[in-house]
Amino acid sequence: MDRCDKLVDVGRRQFLRGGALAAAATATAVALPATPAKATALARIDYPSNRLGNVSDLKLNEPLDVTYPDDSAPGVLLKLGTRVEGGAGPDGDIVGFSTICPHKGFPLNYVAADRTLNCPGHYSRFDCEAGGQQIWGQATQNLPQYALRVDDKGDIYAEGLDELLYGRLSNVLA
């Protein structure tokens, strides 16, 4: 958890220095059981299947703070209201993203007006409706997106990531 707090702190400092009005950073970690580290000899990482919430927890265009694949990796779940590629749930409109900027690791903030995640570090922007595509910015990758599964009860599970998370050389720490 400390590492995670450190990320949030940097972001906050940045907001103050920048003189920008800070929207609450979305990086507050929700306490969820961390996945125990596993020794693995597999060619690819084994991602945990973590329950991040239930469809009923989501309000249209309001970010729900989550973490994945462990509690030092903040992220967000969103119900966009329109079907998007990679969207899960009955309406194909639920998406999840890491909220650590893949440029230098500052916490992203959600701008509901145009459904983007924005970085106070160096102004990068990611489009939540376009698979986390970097609209503009200094990161050299698009935003890591969760592979989501929604079960019959409406529980939302994250089961993988499609890009390397900032600050770790293995998406699942070991």
């Binding site: 995670c4 940097v10 690791g105 160096h122 503009w136 050299t140 770790r168």
Partner: protein, 822 residues
């Protein structure tokens, strides 16, 4: 769907990995990086003792950590013939970037050719010649022999005007002191080639003649001046996208220290937005002038500042010419140069006039003058650091506009002082060391027009792609294809003949109006499609390379990998051409001429460096530069003390100005009055076409996309160049986001994807420059200034829809590029 690499982990750099100094070879900022390499069968671990960072990598690392690298910073490449892992990551201890990487530089590793990971397969690996109707791989000796034999047929002692040369003059990439010297020694030393041009413009000329003629080198400050200043003035430049870490690591701290910002640009860029975020909107003055009216603005500011007495009288008296005109206006000088008083008379422009020409409010011009020069309440002078770039370099009336801007810097004593400077921000790094180019003359020959007009017989091209980055490109391509095809036809007709017969056939085609084209490049470029011989070069990092950045910071990039196939450094290619010319000329009994091509017995790029740069800067050697690391030394190097090279933080601190070569060390002012849209044909386009097609760079793409067109991350974002259009204009045109439109006018046509841009002014679009599949140069007319400086920025055209978004563009984001805090 956005491009994702599906990389879930990366090999860890082991504690004993090799570490090389690297300066980013893309833009002029020259950020420090390190290249780590280690054997492909080894890896580091998460335990602090087993990785290069000495930290526990089993934990999440914090923001701005040194102990992380993105997948784009990793690759597997060849080094000394063996496969190695490669990580190229930003250097926190480099004062230029303090650990920041940009979206361009932080993809250096991914943009290396790798036969293991499949990246940059477009890189050339071996020489090729036109044979049997296509390009066939061949040996260096065969390729050089053909180049030398054909070239020798069109040149002679003191008669080299039929050899046309297009050669880069920059640092970084595949430029640098080694390679400009290699090519320079060949064409300006052994030969005196007059018909030559530079990589991004159609003549061999300075982009900033006037500031040099005034005595002021265009790179005169240190980047730290932006953190020490009261006002940052940005003219025709968009540093957040084009010099990213100069903006982030120097200008932003300057704003946080309280600097105000003046931005002169007809377009609202992301730089303007970021300045508002950092400095507060009340401390940012965006002067959105009518395009091309910079000269009127600067002359008005100069007049107003002088009239208020906000000038540095002592500085003007001590450091600038007293009297009247020192250099009269003539063919080589598009404005007279002389004293402050002379310029005051010539440049005089009232607030009312200035406001009406620029379209600005008088009050905003006054505010700008106050932010630049009004003394502070305690009477002390304000400091102002000024950066300018292509908006005026490739804009209207280059000579006078840059002169007028430097006038303001000189009048206010802002050159050679802390927190000052009037500097170009630059494109590539610099790295120019060549014999004199005085024989080229001024104005220099307009090469591209001469080629269109049928001149030139042999064309040597060094990393120039006219097809993407010239003006009047539509006509140029048509003629170039026609003339080079004549030679290809002749070669095809003589398949199976001897070398002598082939050379005769080529010369026959040349004499009938054809052109023999030799292309030295790292990829098979667009103009390279017309070539008869293609010679593969290496880039920075595949060779040792020295360059300097925008504050004259000289560094050595250490070779960290092998070049692709048997590609060679340009300097060694130039040396081999010289040696082959010597051999062929001797065979032909032309000994006196052959003797001119001696002196190229270089084995390595270091030999070329010693023969060139070192000969003029005897303190500087590879070993000493290596020891200076990523912080290097700022040129000029003035000594070597205590094991360190001693450099020069900023120029002209002694108040003596020397760039014009005047013995008295006095700076000159420029007396250039406003004269409207200067270049031929510009006013016609403005009056006859609906849209301004402003153009420039986009953040994610480096230069003319030569590597980025084969980079998945970039081509996913912009498969086709975009054009920013105001949504109301879009409605009138009946186009929507992502539609493919044709942009056309009297000189040609090109294409782009519509990017809705509410901040764009009506009828003023912005298009990405230099794109491989939508060359903006197709629609730029041939008009230049008197010294053959192109005016790419002033182009007007009509727009029509070609089609709905192509599949590659259908899912792209077309949201605003401006950061929002929410």
């Amino acid at each position: 769907m956005a491009y994702k690499r599906q990389i879930d982990r990366l090999p860890i750099i082991p504690a004993d990995a090799k570490k090389h100094n690297v300066t980013c070879h893309y833009c002029i900022v020259g950020c420090g990086y390190h290249a780590y390499t280690w054997p492909v069968n080894k890896q580091g671990g998460t335990d602090p003792a087993t990785n290069a960072f000495g930290v526990n990598l089993a934990e999440q690392q914090p923001a701005e950590t040194e102990a992380w690298y993105a997948p784009s910073m990793y690759n597997i490449v060849r080094q000394d013939g063996k496969d190695v892992h490669l990580v190229i990551k930003p250097d926190k201890n480099c004062v230029v970037n303090s650990g920041l990487g940009s979206v361009r530089g932080a993809r250096m590793a991914e943009n290396r050719r790798s036969d293991k990971t499949g990246t940059q397969q477009q890189r050339l690996t071996e020489p090729m010649v036109w044979r049997y109707g296509t390009w066939q791989p061949t040996s260096w000796s065969d390729a050089f022999d053909l180049v030398a034999r054909v070239t020798a047929r069109v040149i002679d002692k003191d008669d080299e005007d039929d050899l046309f040369v297009s050669m880069f003059d920059h640092g970084g990439s595949a430029g640098g002191y080694e390679n400009t010297w290699g090519t320079g020694k060949l064409y300006f030393g052994s030969m005196k080639v007059k018909n030559c041009r530079i990589h991004n413009r159609p003549a061999y000329n300075s982009e900033v003649h006037s500031t040099r003629d005034m005595g002021v080198d265009e790179l005169n400050y240190a980047y730290e001046d932006y953190t020490l200043t009261d006002t940052i003035m940005l003219v025709g430049t968009n540093p957040l996208e084009c010099q990213t870490n100069l903006f982030l690591n120097h200008m932003v701290p300057g704003m946080r220290n309280g600097a105000k910002v003046i931005i002169v640009d007809p377009r609202r860029t992301v730089t303007a937005n970021a300045c508002e975020v950092e400095a507060g909107a009340e401390n940012v003055l965006h002067l959105a002038i009518k395009t091309g009216t910079d000269l009127a603005l600067f002359n008005t500011l100069f007049t107003y500042i002088a009239d208020q007495g906000w000038v540095d009288k002592d500085f003007i008296a001590a450091s600038t010419l007293q009297g009247d005109v020192a250099v009269p206006q003539d063919e080589a000088h598009p404005a007279a140069l002389g004293s402050f008083e002379m310029a005051r008379i010539k440049c005089k422009m009232s607030l009312a006039e200035g406001a009406s020409i620029t379209g600005l409010a008088e009050a905003d011009i006054v505010k700008a003058a106050e932010w630049i020069a009004k003394p502070k309440e305690d009477g002390s002078r304000r400091k102002c650091a000024t950066g300018y770039e292509k908006g005026i370099i490739w804009g209207n009336d280059n000579y006078r506009v840059i002169g007028a801007l430097v006038n303001i810097g000189l009048a206010t004593g802002n050159i050679g002082r802390e927190g000052g400077g009037v500097c170009r921000l630059g494109g590539h790094q610099e790295g120019y060391f060549r014999p004199s180019d005085a024989h080229v003359g001024r104005p220099a020959p307009y090469i591209d027009q001469l080629i269109i007009g049928g001149r030139g017989k042999v064309h040597h091209i060094w990393a120039n792609d006219h097809y993407k980055t010239t003006l009047n490109a539509t006509e140029f391509k048509r003629e170039y294809n026609r003339r080079t095809n004549m030679v290809k036809d002749a070669m095809d007709a003589h398949a199976g003949s001897t070398r002598e017969e082939l050379v005769d056939a080529i010369v026959g085609a040349i004499n009938a109006g054809g052109l023999f084209s030799v292309n030295v490049d790292i990829i098979h470029s667009q103009i390279g499609q017309a070539a008869h011989v293609i010679l593969p070069a290496v880039e920075s990092g595949e060779m040792n390379l020295t360059s300097m950045n925008g504050e004259r910071r000289l560094r050595l990039v250490e070779k960290y990998m092998d070049g692709p196939g048997n590609a060679k450094p340009d300097c060694l290619i130039a040396a081999a051409i010289a040696q082959n010319l010597e051999r062929v000329l001797r065979e032909e009994g032309r000994d006196a001429y052959a003797d001119q091509f001696k002196g190229y017995d270089w084995k390595t790029e270091e030999d070329a460096f010693m023969d060139g740069y070192h000969s003029g800067n005897p303190e500087v050697t590879y070993d000493r530069l290596r020891a200076m690391g990523n912080n290097g030394v700022q040129e000029p190097v003035v000594g070597f003390e205590n094991g360190q090279l001693v450099g020069t933080k900023r120029l002209y601190t002694d108040g003596k100005f020397t760039r014009h070569g005047r013995e008295d060390g006095k700076a000159l002012f420029c007396g250039g009055e406003w004269r409207g849209l200067q270049a031929p044909g510009k006013a016609y386009q403005r009056d006859n076409y609906a849209f301004l097609i402003n153009n420039g760079r986009a953040n994610v793409i480096w230069q003319n996309w030569f590597l980025d067109k084969a980079n998945d991350f970039v081509s996913d974002r912009f498969p086709i160049p975009f054009i920013e259009i105001n949504p109301e204009d879009m409605a009138e045109l009946g186009v929507k986001a992502g539609d493919l439109v044709e942009v056309f006018n009297d000189v040609g046509a090109t294409q782009a994807l519509v990017y809705p841009t509410p901040t764009a002014r009506r009828k003023e679009t912005f298009m990405v420059f230099g794109a491989p599949n939508g060359a903006q140069g197709n629609i730029v007319n041939a008009g230049t200034n008197e010294l053959i400086l192109p005016n790419y920025k002033h182009t007007w055209a009509n727009i029509r829809k070609i089609s709905d978004a192509p599949a590659s563009a259908a899912d792209l984001s077309f949201k605003s590029m401006e950061y929002s805090a929410g």
